[in-house]
Symmetry: C2
Subunit: 222 residues, 2 copies
């Protein structure tokens, strides 16, 4: 049995393994999203992939590892994409728009993985849970630091900042419970809407930053 994907022989076979792993995890995400992690069995996963029950254990050590990989992958995808895109951006308002847009864009294109992440990640145990929480915290810190910068530490306190961040995360992470693509439009529209509500609310509609936010909200740069 192969113990570590990176140890395999190089070339074509390596690629095939990674592709199949991705395929298996994608189907797993669909099954977990539809049925819930604990209710879904690996026998159902077998039905969804066309493989045998035992065959899946070639791609993950346990059901929990499969869950971890799904959660970790989509969470890192959001965080990495945001950090890559934000490298060239200094304006905190633009960085906030980028964070919201990236979050929503990946949420809509990976709805099932996001549902699994939001809904089932806390079922993880031990090291798996610790790693996911650590990445989530890194993500939260990114948002909090942007908000702190936007507000310029002139008003409010740390508790308000925490509430603001959680309020925004709540709006975004709740999407998987109601979003329907044919009704609700695409990521850009949702970004304009949710960022609009949040930013006007967060800045209180007064001051120079708020007026600049008003211009950005009326003429979004992307």
């Amino acid at each position: 049995m192969r113990t570590d994907p990176s140890n395999g022989q190089a070339g074509e076979s390596r690629q095939t393994y990674d592709q199949k792993l991705e395929f298996v995890l994608q189907r797993a995400a669909e099954v977990f999203a539809e049925r819930g992690f604990h209710r879904a069995s690996i026998r159902e996963l077998a039905r969804a992939t066309g493989m045998s029950l035992a065959g899946h254990y070639y791609y993950f050590r346990s059901k929990n590892e499969a869950l971890f990989r799904i959660c970790d992958h989509v969470l890192r995808q959001i965080l990495d994409t945001f950090e890559e895109r934000a490298k060239a951006i200094d304006d905190p308002l633009e960085r906030l728009r980028l964070l919201v847009f990236t979050h929503l864009e990946i949420s809509l294109s990976h709805m099932r993985e996001m549902k699994v992440l939001s809904h089932e990640a806390e079922s993880l145990r031990g090291e798996y849970l610790a790693k996911i929480r650590q990445t989530k915290k890194r993500y939260y810190d990114s948002l909090a630091s942007i908000l702190r910068e936007i507000r310029g530490d002139r008003r409010g306190n740390g508790r308000d900042l925490r509430l603001a961040a959680m309020t925004l995360f709540g709006s975004m992470n709740w999407i998987y419970t109601w979003y329907r693509p044919e009704v609700d439009g695409e990521a850009k529209r949702l970004t304009d809407f949710m960022l609009g509500i949040f930013l006007r609310g967060f800045l209180g509609g007064e001051g120079a930053t708020a007026r600049r936010a008003g211009r950005i909200l009326r003429h979004p740069s992307r």
Copy 2:
């Protein structure tokens, strides 16, 4: 075996039965909230109540019925409390504040039940699921109609209204994932904060309604 609580003999014994049922469901909510509905077993519930495994089937027909009762009870509690309180209130801004406050107040005082409702209700099947969804829709319609009244149908469209309602619900329903009473304060503070963000954002900071909302937000009536 008793088939319907309301058929029992009257008086003390009746009261005892209802009290014990409430006790059992409260413990069940704690276990379901902590472990998740599918992972939690009735044997664990037995450990939490001090009763035997079989004894629980005197209070509910199935594990699914227990879940339904928990969800239905807390959902109705929010809706009924809000409708009762809102009877005497005409101003839609005040009604919105009442809705948010009631939702948050009951969320904080029944955090475990709310977590079960938000997290596990979609695991229900058949008639149970239909009933919960129906009540949720009634609740959504209440909010949507208030928002429509506030906006006065002057701007935006039905889709925007839907997004606004879901954005607000998202902020409120996400609370169970992060709320810590010693850090985040009580329902009134959360209401002022979340309603403030949402209302300024929803009204766009312009027009007479927005100015009136500004006054209400600065001098909350409760």
